[in-house]
Amino acid sequence: MQAALAAMPVDLRAVMAAVTLDGRSYRETADILEIPIGTVMSRLSRARQFVEAHVNRCATPSQARKSVQ
């Protein structure tokens, strides 16, 4: 997971930090990062997909299940 965060495209990481970690709303995140709210939505979705792809790629199926449990 640490590697996923390090490798994540920078714009996605910033949105994920604001929403997922800091608990900001989409509106607040949009205001803070000065981007449209639709961009917040799409970047967060892509950030989650990036994490998912990383988990799937870096672990065997059994390890992936262990990681998310």
Partner: protein, 214 residues
Amino acid sequence: MIVTDHQLSAWLSGSLTPDEAARIAAAVEADPVLSARAERLGQLDDLVRQAVPLQDGVPDALLARLGLAPAERPADVTDIADARQKRAATVAERRRPTQIWRIAAQVALVAGIGLAAMQFLPDRAPQQPQDAYRALSDERAPRIDADALVLFASGTTADQARAIVLAAGGSVVGSPTETGAIRVKAGADRDDMLARLRARPEVTMAESLDAGRP
């Protein structure tokens, strides 16, 4: 009803209007596939939060050393541990500027981006919330000379962790991250080392540092 990942993400983040949220909730309730997808996305969020614990991960002293906004002690609080508990207790406290910087520092440290990642925007004082999040976007920092990060289950001692890493064919590099993850240099075969580490019950996470990079 077709529900996209974008909509599910917004629903999970609590960013939909009540009407929209109700529609998505009903769709998730009625569709096992959609329900499984929502659960999967929620698990990924949990994984990210688990990887970046916010409370007490970055000491005030480290924030000060990084030149970030110092913690403001509430007037009615004299004990720093008590202050942290109060900070965790309210959403308002979570959103204080100092907490934003703590998150930025925490993500940088956990991700192995390095402390140099915090030395950014030299022409601008890092006091605004947007600067904190943009700190996460700095790619200029040098990579730490390690092949993997390993997170051990709570209760695992440093000596036990070193022994486990050694038995797996690696060696500990430097000191642990602020969140307790250990940087590891692989011996002959990194993948074999990671597989051996992941097989250990004491290991919560063992990840290659360069996995997923272009």
